[in-house]
């Protein structure tokens, strides 16, 4: 009996790949690159020795690997959405000689439609920190999460912090079936060295929304405006919800600094440009109050860039001993952390990249595969 691993690719329809769509892309890439997975068409008869095959689906449509590859190359979901609109509604072929194993990288689109169902849980933020979410997001996750997890054969959490949240708050019937698998960085590719020296700048990466807590930085800059003469602050990411950049700047009395180009909100930029900015930054700050994992931290470290972040939830798992931390609830601690993070020591850049190399999509997929195949006979 061969096993076919079906990855649900709904998140890849997003216009910009960040967070969950980035994880889905990383996992899809790892599956496409896994030589032990047979990628023949659904009716194919050639199989590798391991008896494993891969498939991709969305809704009731089986999506060819070449379509997924194109979506990953493009790095955005518009084209995929267009393709899916014209796709034949073919249910994933659940061949009689296959065990169909579903991997849902977010909320499940069906329960018990496959012989084995696994799901990636990113965080319980919508439940634990509803103040940082729109009410409809809270309702959406709250209505599905516990039942999704209860219906899983395996639940993969992207950090130990998330795994502990799932175990403590949702009390799944079999705790042993909740595993931690770390994602890899979502970098677009090799980053070229800068062709000319760049003015020192600090990059703040992430969607502009209350949970990301960029106010702590703006408050500091409002109190210590001289910092802006030495360093430009670039807040990179789209505006999600909550106060818009212009409002935040006005509230902190920093409109003039933005006018002078010392604080910038360029919005979302494509992955390659983001990586280039990240690699050249003097420091990446990630002041989030709650995370499931914290991909920007890993990506910055992978490029050797110093990181200043909080000790919240999963972030210490990602930053380990090579990131600098501050306490967002302790007045003045951000300033201490900033000064510490800007003090670069010899070999630190290499140490950061070496730490980040421990996280990869190949490893993530390998760990998931091992866990699935370790399920009791008849399941995995």
């Amino acid at each position: 009996m061969r096993r076919r691993f079906w990855l649900e690719i709904g998140p890849l329809r997003e216009g910009q790949y960040t967070g969950i769509s980035q994880v889905t892309a990383g996992l899809a890439g790892a599956m496409l690159g896994d030589a032990t997975l047979d990628g023949t068409p659904l009716d194919g008869t050639t199989l590798n020795g391991a008896g494993r095959a891969r498939g991709f689906f969305f809704g009731r449509a089986a999506v060819p690997a070449r379509v997924v590859e194109t979506a990953l190359t493009r790095g955005e979901g518009e084209w995929l959405e267009f393709w899916l609109a014209r796709a034949e509604p073919v249910a994933p072929a659940l061949a009689a000689d296959e065990t169909a194993i579903a991997i849902f990288p977010n909320v499940k689109t069906c329960r018990r439609g496959f012989a084995v169902e696994t799901q990636i849980v990113h965080d319980l933020s919508a439940l634990l920190t509803p103040q940082f979410h729109m009410p409809e997001t809270v309702r959406f996750h709250a209505s599905a999460m516990a039942a999704d997890i209860a219906s899983n054969d395996l639940t993969f959490c992207v950090s130990e912090a998330t795994r502990q949240d799932v175990l403590r708050y949702l009390a799944p019937p079999e705790p042993g079936r909740v595993r931690c698998v770390y994602p890899g960085p979502g970098l677009a590719g090799a980053v070229a060295a800068p062709d000319a020296p760049v003015e020192p700048y600090v990059l703040v990466l992430g969607t502009i929304e209350p949970r990301k807590n960029i106010s702590v930085i703006l408050e500091f800059l409002a109190a210590q405006p001289h910092v802006l003469t030495a360093l430009r602050f670039v807040f990179l990411g789209r505006h999600g919800w909550g106060e818009a950049p212009a409002t935040l700047l006005a509230r902190h009395g920093l409109a003039a600094a933005a006018e002078a180009g010392r604080i910038m909100f360029p919005g979302y930029v494509a992955a390659a440009a983001r990586d280039a900015l990240l690699a050249r930054a003097r420091l990446m700050i990630y002041p989030s109050l709650f995370e499931g994992f914290g991909l920007p931290v890993l990506e910055a470290l992978a490029l050797g860039t110093p990181v200043l972040t909080t000790r919240s939830s999963s972030l210490m798992e990602v930053g380990g001993t090579v990131a600098t931390y501050f306490d967002p609830f302790m007045p003045g601690d951000f300033g201490r952390g900033l000064a510490e993070a800007l003090r670069e020591t010899p070999g630190a850049r290499t140490a950061r990249a070496a730490w980040a190399a421990g996280f990869s999509w190949t490893r993530c997929w390998r760990d998931m595969l091992a866990a699935i195949e370790a399920l009791p006979a008849g399941e995995g």
Binding site: L127, L128, T129, V138, R139, A142, S143, A144, M145, A146, A147, E160, A161, Q164, D165, R168, Y169, L170, A171, L289, F290, T310, R311, S312, S313, S314, M316, E317, D327, F329
Partner: protein, 457 residues
């Protein structure tokens, strides 16, 4: 009628600023203290400026938390307030915190319980209804299951034997009675109390169901006068009944209280009900609270105007609250259910004689020796505003009506001075025995000691 506007409205602003300062100071207290006790952490539903939160959902957790914080600071260790306990995944997330065992006291509604993962978590839960939600329906938010949320914690502290019985009957076995401590207020004499509160803005009850909402608020606002002027207008030395409540809290049975007092005044025109209304929120004025907000909780009718029912809304600090108790002869509570009833207990500790319904938490500490009981009839609840309905099942409550309130008030007025003094003394002694610092300290020590032993084992 001669009306005197309060001298300085800015006094209220000043009081609020003072209150903000105190809350901030409390919030930065650090964990750690004498060896042998765990490092203590607390989280509460309300953080920041309490004056803005008065009367909003679960605001009373703030007061219970503040009382525990003072007791813990004096006798165990100063608790550190946590805005987001869920932020801390492990001990290394708080490197400056002390080594050894950690204990986290949670003063939040069940849906808002967030664990401090490296700590022993204790939910300090106020509950006063005979039912508890024990199931999660398909598609329902999992945190709405009260019993499941409470059982996330290592143990649950409740304020009454009633709550302990209810929780244990609903599967929350690790429940213990550890009520909030009550400190006797430093009560000034009546004359001094009146001086302290002379400028307190009050407005007489004046509702008309035919008025549009805006007009109702305008009339209440236009009638504002100082407490001194309000009392002076009644002449002589009125007997003052005090009540403190959130007008939108369905448990408080406001309609029965007000109608009962209104009826009582026909026979006792020298009785005054000083009704302190707890209702925060931006732009909420005394006119609005005493007008449309108050009217919405009263059953219909044509109109009610009573210069002997004086409504106030200003935030009062501890000294002013003590003065309020010093001014009052009786404290009246017509509640259908209470988790502990902190204002009633503080009033009793201050020497006010209680005129109150019994049942729920009050069953632990009210009897004929210290209180005039308001009679109540047991019936299935028909008030959709009672929080107990979150359990998804109906339940019985003992509810007093206006006539029962009026009868109890008349009984109170009929007490001799000697009997009243005896009841006031008995009330003080009862509060000290059940909720005094020594009594609660012993309960807390027993529970924390148990936890420490468990952690060490």
């Amino acid at each position: 009628m001669h009306r005197e506007r309060p001298a300085r409205q800015s006094n209220v602003t000043k009081r609020r600023a003072d209150a903000r300062g105190r809350v901030r100071k409390g919030a930065v207290a650090e964990a750690g203290g004498p060896a042998g006790w765990p490092a203590l952490f607390m989280s509460s539903t309300v953080t920041g400026e309490i004056a803005r939160h008065l009367g909003v959902a679960h605001y009373s957790y703030h007061f219970a938390a503040a009382k525990f914080a003072r007791l813990l600071t004096r006798h165990f260790s100063a608790p550190r307030m946590l805005a987001m306990p869920e932020y801390y995944a492990g001990r290394d997330a708080m490197p400056e915190a002390p080594a050894g065992a950690w204990t986290h006291l949670i003063f939040r509604s069940t849906a808002e319980i967030r664990l401090l993962k490296p700590a022993r978590n204790i939910a300090c839960f106020a509950w006063e209804f005979p039912v508890l939600k024990t199931e999660t329906l398909p598609g329902e938010h999992p945190f709405l299951n009260q019993a499941a949320m409470l059982n996330l914690c290592d143990e649950v502290w409740v304020a009454s034997r009633f709550a302990e019985t209810v929780l244990r009957a609903h599967g929350v076995a690790r429940t213990h009675v550890v009520p909030a401590p009550i400190e006797p207020p430093a009560v000034p004499g009546r004359a001094e109390a009146l001086r302290a509160l002379a400028d307190l803005p009050v407005t007489p009850l004046q509702v008309n169901f035919a008025w549009p909402e805006g007009l109702q608020d305008e009339r209440a606002e236009a009638a504002i006068l100082s407490l001194r002027a309000g009392l002076r207008a009644l002449g002589g030395r009125p007997t003052i009944f005090l009540a403190i409540l959130n007008p939108e809290d369905a448990r408080k049975n406001l309609d029965a209280l007000v109608r009962g007092f209104h009826a009582h005044r026909l026979a006792f025109p020298d009785s005054v009900l000083l009704l302190k209304l707890l209702r925060g929120g931006d732009g909420v004025t005394l006119g609005r609270v005493a007008g449309s907000i108050m009217r919405a909780r009263l059953a219909g009718g044509s109109a009610m105007h009573d210069t002997g029912i004086l409504l106030c809304h200003a935030y009062l600090d501890e000294a002013e609250m003590a003065a309020l108790y010093g001014l009052a002869d009786f404290f009246v509570s017509a509640s259908v259910a209470e988790g502990q009833n902190l204002p009633l207990l503080e009033a009793m500790a201050a020497g006010c004689v209680a005129v109150s319904t019994g049942g729920t938490a009050m069953e632990d500490y009210l009897d004929e020796s210290c209180a005039v009981r308001i009679g109540a009839r047991v019936a299935m609840n028909d008030d959709p505003g009672l929080a107990g309905l979150v359990a998804g099942r109906n339940f019985a409550v003992a509810r007093a009506g206006g006539p029962e309130v009026a009868a109890a008030l008349a009984t109170a007025r009929g007490l001799s001075a000697r009997t009243r003094a005896g009841m006031a003394a008995a009330g003080r002694a009862r509060v000290a025995a059940c909720f005094g610092e020594d009594a609660v300290r012993a309960l807390v020590a027993a529970r924390l000691g148990t936890g420490t032993a468990m952690a060490a084992a």
